[in-house]
Amino acid sequence: MTSIYGPVTDWATDFDHVDPEYNPNAHQIWDDLRENGCPVASSERYGGLWAPLTHEYVREVAYDTENFTSRGVIVSTARPIAEAPIGPAPPITSDPPFHQIARKLLLPPFAPKQIDPWEPEIRTLCRGLLDDMGDITPGESIIDAAVQYAQNIPVNVIARMLGFPTTDDEIFRGFVHDIVENVNVDPEEREAAIGPLDAYLDIQIEEHRANPRDDLTTYLMNVEIDGNKLSHEHVRGSIVLLLIAGIDTTWSAIGSSLWHLATHPDDLERLVKEPELMTFAIEEFLRAYAPVTMARLVAKDNDFHGCPMKENQWVLLPFPAANRDPEFFDDASEVHLDRAENRHAAFGLGIHRCLGSNLARLELRVAVEEFIGRFPAFALDGPVTWSNGQIRGPRKLPVRITALA
């Protein structure tokens, strides 16, 4: 599938986050735009697109559910068919007041005290992936930290939580890719990508109906709103959301954190020597390399700081750009592993705060701990490939292992 748009001609007025040049150069692009007095980039692509780039503006859009609807959160050539306030994948595509109802259903299984007990299993999974890399000869062995490690962690964890066969992880990754990366293709081609995922989930849900068990899928099938169980579409939509929201995002966060350590030997050495920094280091990686840019559709025409926004145009919520706004953070473009004041927005702001943030943080911390615990020294060795589109992270990350624990 190829883009129907050509290369970006000017980032201020022909902005396109799906251009292959965007993710590898995103930090520079935001800095250049902000320094040149462009806090909101724009584009005629996708039927009209705006991209606020400062923390203040991103926060303003995130909090304003009157003028901006979540009916569409992934920019594409198509407009979502399902109507607000419910949308195709509640609660992420829902607006108030329904949003709160759908969100409340999902909050309990993702609250810290439900998520923390997964730690040993995630650790075992990470160690297994490191073992699968085979014999490592320090100074010689090159492994791909994105392909052989990061990408396998979230997909396995969510499959276990949902009670799906973990051997299907290739299939999930394919679905997620179709949905989050192939956005600049023909609308029909895009709609066609969703069909197979729905069909797969119908089978899984049927299987759970026949064999209920203690997992998230069964939880969703039994949970009630005002005494009524969720419709099949609601259950399926929630699962689609968990797959899409949890996989590429966490894979990217783990990959970017390892990319940082593979390119900043002093930080790697420090983190190995001072493990008590880990809590702050993880938040700093999330700030500096936030993987997720969300979007909204303009709900009604409005003037946003001089930008004439029209109904049904897209507005990006680049939380990663907000996280590097020098007006909001000291030394915004520097990574400080011990940054003590860190109100970063990697998990969003306001009512849609990432429901999986406790799980994502746990996976990220355990993945980094286990990787540097096994390989206390490693360095980038070969070309990095970055993802395309709203989720930013390394998809190929070749590193040479230079020491074993």
């Binding site: 993702f110 609250a111 810290p112 005290k113 109100r343 998990f347 306001g350 009512i351």
Partner: protein, 74 residues
Amino acid sequence: MTAYSQGMRVQLDTEKCQGHNRCYALAPELFDVDDYGTAVLLVEGDIPAELEDKARLAVANCPEYAITIEGESP
């Protein structure tokens, strides 16, 4: 500090809290979380002096500005 100075008091605005759980991670002596992942303030009135740094840390890491120290702007 003089003998007359008041202890520190922490406030939590549960309307603003969206459950990022930074406070619970950084200052579990001061904050708990409920079944929905929303923060719960554990200490009423003055907080013990040795927890003041932790309280400040929680304030400085809440993305929603839901935590304040009485008499200080966030």
